[in-house]
Amino acid sequence: MSKRKFGISFLVTILLLTMAFAVSAEEPRMATWVDEVIIVEEPSVTTAVSRLQAGDIDVYATTSSEPVPFATILSDPNLDYYQTFGSYSELTFNPVGPTFNDGRYNPFGNRKIREAMNMLIDREYIAQELYGGLALPKALMLNNAYVDYSRVVETARALEFKYAYDFEKAKDLITEQLLADGANLVNGKWHYDGQPIEILILARSEDQRAAVGDYVADQLEAIGFTTKVDYRTGTEASPIWMMGDPWLGEWHVYTGGWGAGAVYRDQGHLFNQMYTRRTMTQPLWQALEPIPELDEISDKLYYKNFTSMEERNALYSRALELAFEDSPRIYTVDQISYVARRADVSVASDLAQGVSSTALWPSTLRRGDEIGGTVTIGSAQVLVEPWNPVGGSNWTFDQLPMRATFDRGFISNPFTGNYMPHRIERIEVTVQEGLPVAKEPGSDWVELKFAEEIQVPGDAWLYWDGDQQRMITVAEKYPEGLTAPRHTVVYYREDLFDTVKWHDGSPYTVGDMLLPTILDWDRGFESSEIFDPAAQTSVQSAMNNARGWRIISLDPFVYEVWSTSWYIDAEQNIGDIFAPYYNYGAQPWHTLAIGVMAEAAGELAFTASKANALDVEWLGYNMGPSLPILDKHLDKAIETNYLPWAHFLSEYISEEEIAARYANAKAWYQEKGHFWIGNGPMYLEAVYPTERIVHLKRFEDYSEPADKWSMFDKPRIAEAEMFGAARVRAGEEIRFEVEITFEGEPYPLEHITEVKFIVLDATGAVAISGYGEPVADGLYEIVLTGEQTKALPIGSNTIEAIVLPSLVASATFSAHTFVTLP
């Protein structure tokens, strides 16, 4: 080889090595894909969609159910949307009777008439015609997007068939009951005591429920009632239906609506809320006369008085049946709402409430494959109330930017509602034997154990006593010993204190866990200088229910907690003090400390109620008149190296840390002009209160890669199609195939929990149920044996497959009708 060739070869080698090194050394993108997020106010969804079309905004985070803008989204290839299922509508009946105080007859005091009303209304019509297709018919209390529906799907489907729209049947049943109650039909109109029976329908005027009120009136008129529809806003209607005395007979039917704030893993508590007197204290609920068995089961489900999931499912199924028989309210539709976006922008969106409700939105927000850039998000409101983690704004509009700015120990899965570890490495959960707690397959971070009895050690801290200004131990309050149904040991990641940083540069320390904990307790004691009457009752209750906690190791941080509360998902039996004020954001101990100073001085208050009582400003770390007051107290804190509850906290927070923290906060305030210091993937660059704009920027020191939660950019709701023969002879085997796909691709078997099936006969009764067998990715097979087909009634039958993926809580249904021949 010549020198020249050698030289060239050498240079090429060096060049290749350099390139290879450069590629391998390329840092993964941290925190978020985008550099900046601008959140602007846009109250109108119609205008928001126009702005999306014009590229003026990229995502409209406020969910909507308006059909006209939705049609625009569907027709524009540049736009797309995410669905949410959090809201549902119903008809509430005035259940008292048979007559009101003034002697007027109330047909809905008759349970059988209420039950028949389920069949008098056509839910499909309401969903398609009145809600413009942006709703799904709903007969049960359960939302089929949530996991509880799939747990009792056989009963659920059978009840849906049983109570499906059947005008004639409903009319006959109601007629029978009216005659039995002494009403009579005169010239096609029902009368009681010589007077026409007039039904007063209280219809909400703000949305489609006004039209639902009209529809219900039409249906009731069609069977002979005289009706009157009174359209009112929620505020106007509340004193009548909810607060008014039902015996006054000011209304018969109310077009109600409810919303879910999250994807529920356990909706068992809802029976008590909807059918008994226990949860809601308003006069309407106190007038309920629930079927005793329903009343009993509801309470069992509320307090989780069952020992296995089988027992729970049996209770649940029975409660659903009884709920139809009682029917103080009947359900009409699950509303489908949408989060509009430009098609090239993706972001995680919670199945219950959309983008605003998930902590994952900042890290998943991305325009195509772009790295960097700015995304503009529209929101119906911006900067509604002041932000502070103790008692600040909990508006979903404020949660949107707030959620981007603070980090968490665990993250709630936006599609299933279950928990996933984030700053937590693993947990050990021990529950009392007999409690039906189970973990999901693949939850390797959870170790689940059962114990006959769980004793709480005497040296565990029980609570902070504001009067004595110290931690009370279990042994002090319960010298005879204390047990708890659940014990959790939480292991945080070993790199926790090395990697987590606050936006002002301060490293996260154990003080950020302990100070908020003490603050939360202290403000419930009258002797505290930051006493807040609004906190007193809940603190008293928490003291009674506390079972203890203890720090096992400071670094790595490990602690254990004992509790009276437990959840059927092992993953949810967690205790997290990494971000104590989960709903209201998070703040480092040093800004909380200056807030404590300001409240103690009577100049600001953490909660709106205390601010009202003292006639001072409500503390806001993000904007407004609080800022100069906080700055003044920061200066005082710097002067005195102030540490609240120093006799306790000085063991964990050094003098140097105190000084450094306040210096960082001062520098931050001077640069940014606010005190909202978080530790999330984005920081608050600026707020413009009058202009209603929030400016967020990527926090470059955030330790987690941007692609950590990439799998949540879209919900993998399965699509299913069923194939099989159209007829079978009784006694012969028949096979059906269920094709399961997502966006045209086979759904991986590993992400399908199970495929159930039910066979419904011509009357809607469940004749057979069972499970399908996996064949390949995206393919399941269902086999009905000869014995099974022999047992089927001759004639038309419907087989329905229910696909339950593990990636989303929503079940997918597919049906196939076949004929059984003799």
Binding site: S50, M243, P533, S565, G624, T690
Partner: protein
């Protein structure tokens, strides 16, 4: 001697006349002031009664509180681990705390007079629910933060409208029967549509289709750095709403001014001035504009106080952070302190304007005399 006596008599007469005028003016100021104060008091109290539905709103607010607290606790999974009695105690405590803080535990009749007194003495206090844009509860801050944007938008729009319609009216009155005159008359019925209606069309054309101007808001997001850039951005955001305001009213306003000037132009004394050979400009200035001055001033003053009110729908359509939207929010939320504050300030401004107009009339129109019993 006689001259001296005569002079003294004249001086005494002048003094007496001056005293008489002073007494008359003072008496007028006192009576007029008291009358206006009574009117303002009645107006504000009526606003309080209406805004609170005669006290019925209390029931609605208590209902809302109960509903919200119940729902908060119903959604709280931790409540599953306390007894029903404990839960009820927590709920009732939360409800009573809120009821007391809003003063709903005291009779509305008592509170209505407190609202009235606080309003009349401009002790605006704290809002019940609303917060200022920056999160303050003080009503003065809530109104103060919105006043600037409202004045900016409304003053620009209304003043452009006022002066352009005034001059256009004058031009039309001079060119009666011309094409321009006929065009403006033909276009006058278009003013039956409100400004927000034109606003929506303007947004559709210039923001959605052409993309030249912003959909709404007060400034670009994020706001540009530097004062000049920010002013320019604000001006750009004002183009559509101001245009909507002007377009919606310019034709009818110009038409009415033109008619007004034409009526005055056909008075006998104008004909006489023309016969005397005075120039058109002099006739217009001395014989047309001067007698119409009180009416123009009245109109101008009403425009000025109207600026305070804002424009509810226009501000909503253009997402402009003004007092109009704030008032609407306050009414929807039954926030009495804010409703009282906006009402009382408007009432005071109106009363002062009416009072000032009386004085201005006497200055610009020699036929008007303060307290002159209608002379």
């Amino acid at each position: 001697m006689q001259n001296i006596e005569t002079a003294q008599g004249q001086a005494a007469f002048v003094r007496q006349r001056r005293m008489s005028s002073l007494n008359r003016i003072l008496k007028y100021v006192l009576v007029r002031g008291l009358t206006l104060l009574v009117t303002v008091t009645i107006g504000v109290y009526l606003a309080i009664l209406i805004a609170n539905g005669g006290g019925y709103v209390d029931q609605m607010r208590i209902g809302q509180i109960r509903e919200q607290v119940s729902l908060i606790l119903a959604a709280d999974q931790e409540m599953q681990f306390v007894t029903v009695q404990e839960r009820r105690a927590i709920e009732e405590s939360m409800i009573q705390t809120q009821i007391q803080q809003l003063g709903l535990d005291r009779p509305f009749a008592v509170r209505s007079f407190e609202y009235l007194w606080n309003g009349l003495t401009l002790n605006l206090g704290s809002a019940d629910y609303l917060l200022s844009d920056s999160g303050s509860r003080q009503v003065r801050n809530i109104l103060g933060e919105r006043l600037g944007p409202t004045l900016l938008l409304m003053a620009t729009g209304q003043l452009i409208l006022f002066f352009s319609s005034l001059f256009l009216g004058l031009i039309l009155s001079r060119s009666y029967g011309s094409f321009l005159d006929k065009f403006i008359i033909a276009m006058a019925p278009t003013s039956s549509a409100p400004a927000w209606f034109y606003g929506m069309f303007l947004i559709l054309i210039f923001a959605a289709l052409l993309g030249w101007l912003p959909f709404g808001g007060m400034v670009a997001a994020p706001p540009p750095e530097g004062t000049i850039a920010r002013i320019l951005s604000t001006l750009k955001h004002m183009i559509l709403p101001v245009t909507a305001m002007v377009v919606s009213r310019i034709f009818s306003s110009a038409y009415s001014r033109r008619t007004f000037f034409l009526i005055y132009s056909s008075e006998d004394y104008v004909e006489m001035a023309k016969a005397k050979g005075l120039s058109d400009r002099e006739i217009e200035r001395r014989y047309v504009l001067r007698p119409t001055l009180p009416a123009i001033i009245t109109s101008f003053m009403l425009v000025v106080i109207q600026l305070w009110v804002g424009a509810i729908v226009l501000e909503t359509v253009f997402n402009w952070p003004g007092i109009g939207r704030l008032t609407q929010q306050a009414i929807n939320m039954f926030d009495t302190p804010v409703i009282v504050a906006t009402t009382v300030i408007y009432a005071y401004l109106l009363a002062v304007t009416v009072f000032l107009l009386d004085i201005i009339y006497s200055l610009v129109d020699p036929r008007v005399k303060l307290g002159g019993g209608g002379n």
